[in-house]
Symmetry: C2
Subunit: 231 residues, 2 copies
């Protein structure tokens, strides 16, 4: 499927039932008129810290990272968003400017809906408002939880956590290709690149995982979960 050239009608959108189930056909016509679907190749920038918030962004396909860049140029990855996630978190309501930058870490399709349209729907369609808010809350709560989970663990626990995260939450498979570099893993779980590599090697030597470049296979899920839970 060539995502680049897929232009869908909201009415037929595969995700309609997920995010917009309480919208009438009339509502969808309005959205359809004010939406833009954009394709991004892996590595392409979707928005930058400081950009004005004008659209509500919905990840249809792919994988993106939210991050902040420090004065020293070091990056901190706040979260990784999956298909069906509203990206940009709560900024749509709390800010006029984006707080984080967003970049595709896999080929991705993002649907942009004009923010005034969404706000108007919230005003006029109460069921949609509740639904919408539930979704956005779940995503933001999970960001908070993940940050805490990571920061309360030490290195081995963090690596285990992130491996399980990709295997269980993202790819739903023991075997996957890590979409981010070792350096980015370091930026995601707040440790040095060298130590990310060191712990991964340790895990390999301990027969917990198998690594070939970016390809990772989890060999002993039980033990990995134990390491994750014990910190």
């Amino acid at each position: 499927m060539d995502l680049k050239h897929q232009i869908s009608d909201c009415n037929d959108c595969v995700y309609r039932s997920w995010a917009f189930k309480h919208l009438s056909t009339d509502d969808l016509v309005v959205i359809n008129a004010k939406k833009a679907e954009k394709f991004y190749r892996k590595g392409e920038n979707i928005c930058n810290e400081g950009d004005p918030v004008t659209s509500f962004m919905y990840l249809q396909n792919g994988l993106v990272k939210l991050f902040k860049t420090e004065a020293s140029n070091r990056q901190h990855i706040i979260s990784i968003a999956r298909p069906k996630d509203f990206i940009g978190l709560l900024s749509v309501f709390s800010n006029t400017k984006h707080v984080y930058s967003i970049t595709a870490i896999e080929d991705s399709t993002v649907c942009f809906v004009d923010l005034t349209v969404i706000k108007n729907l919230i005003k006029t369609n109460g069921d949609f408002a509740l639904d919408f808010f539930e979704k956005i809350s779940i995503i933001s709560e999970s960001v908070i939880k993940t940050r805490i989970d990571i920061n309360t663990r030490q290195l081995r626990g963090r690596i285990a956590y992130i491996l399980l995260f990709f295997a269980q939450k993202i790819y739903n498979n023991d075997k996957f290709s890590l979409p981010i570099s070792r350096k980015e893993v370091a930026e995601l779980i707040e440790m040095s690149t060298e130590n990310v590599i060191r712990v991964l090697s340790e895990f390999r030597k301990d027969n917990l995982i198998q690594i070939e470049g970016t390809n990772i296979k989890i060999l002993d899920m039980d033990r990995l979960e134990k390491i994750c839970n014990l910190g």
Copy 2:
């Protein structure tokens, strides 16, 4: 003022203009009928992890902490909420059970409004919905930001950050009485109690602050901000 026995009518609530400016007198009558105002002494528990979410909670007065308790019994403080904050974060929309425990760290008054009433207002009053989302989003975004700020600093930077937090965000005064113990500071910024004390002593020796028990006075704001910003 004896907070314990203050029972207010929503219509006269000093915070009406802040949180509920888009509600009609009729709406307020409904809320008034379904609300409870409760007073908690410092140290008293307001809700526990796992409790069902039935009310929307609004901090009228005082200061509370949100925290999680680990299996090992160590606590992690997620955030400190101020008057006018909606406490309980996004759980009202994303969960049926509370994710965090909440305890008063100063004498506090919490207003509980039945959740079905709030949800109904969101459905029927679009202006209220938008307003409400904006407030709750600002609070949750700020929790995410604070967690990142803390976790990207090392010990001296963290202590500086938290001192500035209390001075600027909570008390709006260079001189204040720290409402939490050294141990709780440690739980808030993820370091050991001993090191909290050590760094505070260092700051005292460097004439950055003055300490007498829980009373703290910031002597050199500029230098403290520099330490905070440099990590």
